[in-house]
């Protein structure tokens, strides 16, 4: 392939409180590709997503990550976000009293400013946000509520997809977006993700279960165990895993 990779992870080692969680990960993601990261609990899948987004509970010990050709670790979390790294959280946190609309606008303004685009005025932003809400089957009142405040599990996850749609990232990291969702909510979330797929935008989908991949069909599947990618393959690898269980890999 002649494309310049969007993301190049090389021999990444990271730890939390002195305990090694990622133990030499290498992964290349080209524009437009969807990679699924699967693995048993504690294999390091969520850590990978969080290290890429820049959460500072993790210490990068060695290895490198290049994003759009630049050293990702040189950038603060907010700079990564503005450059187009988006993390859909496994457990979206509440921010009481701050309306979802206010939060979304502050976020979109910050990213647009970085990209040299003008800030959207309030009415245009409202219109845009409402349209996306509709696609995700969220009522417009949803925008007036506090960020994730009293949201159901499904609403929280759809709120993450809503943010992704508004921020138009180039690399979206979905951290167990399927956890806690019933089948209907899962479908809506997956449709939201699929609507955003395009030849420039890449996804890393972290999941424990094959189920999500029926809806978000990946180009590649990697299996993580003990902080390493122990097996990579195509879509069929996920199905095989489901059949045989993670013990097959270990």
């Amino acid at each position: 392939m002649s494309k310049t990779p969007l993301l190049e992870v090389k021999d990444l080692v990271a730890e939390v409180d002195g305990k090694t969680i990622l133990n030499g990960i290498s992964l290349t993601v080209n524009p437009g590709e969807v990679h699924a990261i699967m693995g048993p609990n504690g294999s390091g899948k969520s850590t990978l997503a969080n290290v890429l987004a820049g959460r500072d509970d993790y210490e990068v010990v060695s290895g490198s990550v290049r994003f759009k050709g630049q050293d990702l670790f040189e950038l603060e979390p907010e700079e990564r976000a503005r450059e187009g790294v988006f993390l859909a959280f496994q457990y979206p946190v509440e921010i009481p009293g701050v309306s979802n609309m206010q939060f979304l606008k502050a976020s979109v303004d910050a990213v647009r400013k970085h990209r040299g685009q003008e800030e959207l005025d309030a009415p245009s932003f409202m219109k845009l946000a409402r349209e996306h809400c509709k696609e995700l089957k969220l009522k417009p009142e949803f925008l007036k509520r506090g960020v994730n405040e009293g949201f159901s599990g499904g609403e929280k996850k759809r709120n993450e997809i809503l943010q992704m749609a508004l921020l138009e990232p180039s690399l979206a990291l979905l951290d167990e977006t399927d956890s806690g969702l019933d089948i209907d909510a899962l479908q809506v979330a997956a449709e939201g993700v699929n609507a955003l797929r395009n030849p420039e935008r890449s996804f890393i989908v972290v999941t424990h279960y094959q189920r999500l991949l029926n809806y978000i069909v990946p180009d590649y599947v990697h299996v993580l165990a003990g902080g390493k990618i122990v097996k990579s393959g195509g879509r069929e690898l996920a199905l095989e895993l489901e059949e045989k269980g993670y013990s097959w890999i270990q």
């Binding site: 502050a106 910050a110 990213v111």
Partner: protein
Amino acid sequence: MSDEIESLIRREYEAGFVTNIESETLPPGLNEDVIRIISAKKNEPEWMLQWRLEAYRKWCDMEAPQWAHLQHPPVDFNAISYYSSPKSKDDAPKSLDEVDPEILETFEKLGIPLHERAKLAGVAVDAVFDSVSIGTTYKDELAKAGVIFCSISEAIKDYPDLIQKYLGSVVPQQDNFYAALNSAVFSDGSFVYIPKNTRCPMELSTYFRINELNTGQFERTLIVADEGSYVSYLEGCTAPMRDENQLHAAVVELVALGDAEIKYSTVQNWYPGDENGKGGIYNFVTKRGVCDGANSKISWTQVETGSAITWKYPSVILRGDNSIGEFYSVALTNGYQQADTGTKMIHLGKNTKSTIVSKGISAGRSQNAYRGLVRISPRAEGARNYTQCDSLLIGDQCGAHTFPYIENKNPDAILEHEATTSKVSDDQLFLCRQRGIDEEKAVSMIVNGFCKEVFKELPMEFAVEAGKLLEVSLEGAVG
């Protein structure tokens, strides 16, 4: 993370400049002669002097309260000057044209234009500089509605009947140590009277400024809303940055007669001291209102971000049947600031209602305490109170404390108390940053969200000011 939060909490105090004007300041120290001089300087009638002396004698037998969750060296009351006046003419200026241009400029810098042609969005302002009221705007326009809005010094001369009737009627001279001191030495402040069935045509506002070194400020505010009237009043406060602690001991009394409503809002931004806890204002204030008549209402809203030490409990005595008392408070402490603040709701009348919403935000190494009393008397049938008391901690070196007292003597009363303590969590900050929002903006957004229920009680233009003030006060809070 806590180091980062700490560096973000560094603040700059924008109102910290000193105005160079000639002033006349009494030498430090307090005795009966000082009180006689203050009274004479203001050409007060004999009854006023006697009232002050009576208060002073009571004060001499009192001791500073020790029960608050505050730590500071004892105040040396003989190291303070009790009167300072800008040196212009013999007494207070007769009109704004006579005010020293340097002082006018000071208020301009603080964003309080005093010239009426500079129109502060239809808000009438009384400006108090050190001990003296230097000018009240919109007087004529208010007079047309029958509203009296003037300095308390003028009121003592021009409206002696009202002053004699109401001064000390809500906060008696010997109410507490600092109220007694204030009663003895108060030098100026504002007086408001709203006649029967009158809605005050504009917001009223007093702006307090301490300038002179080693000066205490002891203002006295008295607002009387006659039957069926309404007034909304706002006070703002700033002081220069000085290494010494300065004392501010004010008394505010509100009287709402039958069916009257008083809405009193405060944005307090006295100098809080530097990042090592040096300097700053000691803000020891007594504020109390009485809902004297049936169906009256008093609402206190305060946004407290300044002062090295805050000791204040704006309270309401609900004497009239069906009267309503409200207290909405945001108290933010940072650096080495200490605050012990809250309210008292005293239910005497039938079907009286009170609401308390207190939001305390502690950052840096500060200590922030809520102290509240809800008292229901035996004859307050059908009384209701709702209290909500939330604390937010930023970083891990600060403290939040809650001291709620409930004394219920009527089995018919309904009381609710809710309290929460939360932290600005790393997860919340990370969520914001992952969405491209920088940390400072994120903290200010989270804190503003926390204070939302209180801000919506402020008059519009001041809600914006309060939001900005929080942002400035938190500048540097996570870096």
